[in-house]
Amino acid sequence: MAFTCLDASATGLSALTTNLNVIANNLANANTDGFKASRVNFQDLLYLEQRQPGLENILGDLNPTGLYAGVGTRVSGTQLNLREGPLVSTDQPLDVAISGSGFFVVEVEDTYTNGLAYTRAGNFALNAEREIVLANDQGRRLIPSIEVPWGIPEYAVNITNDGNVQISYGEIFEEIGQLELAIFANPAGLTPIGGNLYTESIASGEVAIGLPTENGRGTIIQNFLEASNVDPVTELVDLINTQRAFEFNSQALKAADEVLQIVANLRRYG
């Protein structure tokens, strides 16, 4: 139907609903360690050309642009906000935070690119094989794998700023591994898969894994965790904006409906 105002308002309503979903998810994760807030990007849709007759009049004036009307908006995508969250002291020896743009690398199912996922949440623990794993229900193994020998308590593990993992327990002092971090050309294009994990995507570019000190991957800080970077004030302001914009769009929808009704009643019966 040529009456596109209804559809234009509807696209606005549905895009704003997506925005609401993302804001709700951000706020729900205001206390999730290593969480990165997302934002919704809106874009205008195509424009309908309507070349009404009479644009060229008797004087030969040609209007360079035709008559056009847009058909609404769409969500072009969600984008991660990769601002660093505040670092919070936890006094847990296997809690590590990254100050820089790198990600920890963990092992996931082969269905994901390279079988790897990336995370900023550095709350690690030991599994039954004494390997360092992510301290969540899935226990993803850190890559490269680092084992803490039997009989060594967690507090004896020392992680240096450049990611060297050492143990010093009584007489024993040895290096047991080296943390490596991943960086991406466009980290905002990573695909979130839940569980604080992200996987490589076409948009993110190929992963580059290496030593923390190289290419600004970051400094490792032991006993700290990176808190969520969600800023509740910004989110709430966005929430208010979204709600109001929603109302305006529904009003436009109502107006279009009323106009349609008037037009529909143009014909006189009898």
Binding site: Y47, G77, A245, L266
Partner: protein, 256 residues
């Protein structure tokens, strides 16, 4: 046929067009870099003049004009407010200029303008638009490579990484912004009528900011109220003329 009938119909159609534009504006009230469209209307010329027909003019009717006509849609080049986003590759323009984007092949016909400064590194390592993936160009229509790591973009568009200059984002203006044509996805086509694009020195870039939509919900809502009344008035007149015609037929066309 009843001339006024069509006069009212053009009024009705123009109002519907206005409503369409208002709905699109409101739908894009959260679209970054969006410029609100404005509808101008003008009196339509009578059909004889419009079609350049040589028919005998009916002076009485011709003085009435031909109803209402919507002029080509223009967008208002007002400055949107800048809001901070923390994004390193989020840029906002303060001024009249546009970003120049293209496919990077140097093909002049692929060049589009935009005010949407949500940029990213594309898989080729070049600065590109987030939504469409079109590459951001410098003043000489070349792409700009951005390595990983922190990027600084100065108010004049100079892109630097660790003290090394990588290029300067091209900010351009055209003499006739009325001839610019929106094609969606925040892109604007510089039509030949818009004139030659020139690098603009008067605009400043803000890194870490985005320009908000220039849609003013209050004005749009006020417009919608007005449109509603205009539709009603035109519809009432249509009905009145229908009534008159009906009465005329019934009065004068009576058999027996």
């Amino acid at each position: 046929m009843n001339y006024g009938f069509y006069q009212s119909a053009t009024g009705l159609m123009t109002q519907v067009h206005r409503l369409r534009v208002a709905s699109n504006n409101l739908a894009n009230s959260e679209t970054r870099g969006f410029k609100a469209d404005a509808v101008m209307t003008s009196q339509r010329l009578p059909a004889r003049l419009e079609g350049n027909m040589a028919a005998d003019p009916q002076w009485l009717l011709e003085q009435l004009g031909g109803g209402q006509l919507a002029d080509p849609t223009r967008f208002v080049m007002a400055q949107g407010s800048l809001s901070p986003t923390d994004g390193e590759l989020d840029l906002a323009i303060d001024g009249e200029a546009f970003f120049m984007v293209g496919d990077g092949t140097g093909d002049a016909s692929s060049i589009r303008l935009t005010r949407d400064g949500r940029f990213t590194r594309d898989p080729d390592g070049e600065l590109a638009m987030l939504g469409t993936g079109m590459k951001v160009l410098d003043g000489r229509e070349r792409t700009i490579s951005v390595p990983m790591g922190s990027i600084t973009i100065g108010p004049d568009g100079l892109v630097t990484h660790a003290g090394e200059e990588l290029g300067r984002i091209g900010l351009v203006t055209v003499p006739n912004t009325n001839a610019l044509h929106k094609i969606g996805d925040s892109l604007i086509v510089p039509t030949p009528d818009a004139g030659k694009m020139t690098v603009d020195g008067g605009s400043t870039l803000w890194q870490g900011y985005l320009e908000s939509s220039t849609v003013k919900p209050v004005l749009e809502m006020a417009g919608i109220v007005e449109i509603g009344r205009a539709v009603e008035a035109n519809a009432k007149l249509l009905q009145a003329q229908d009534l008159l015609t009906g009465q005329a037929i019934n009065t004068f066309g009576k058999v027996t």
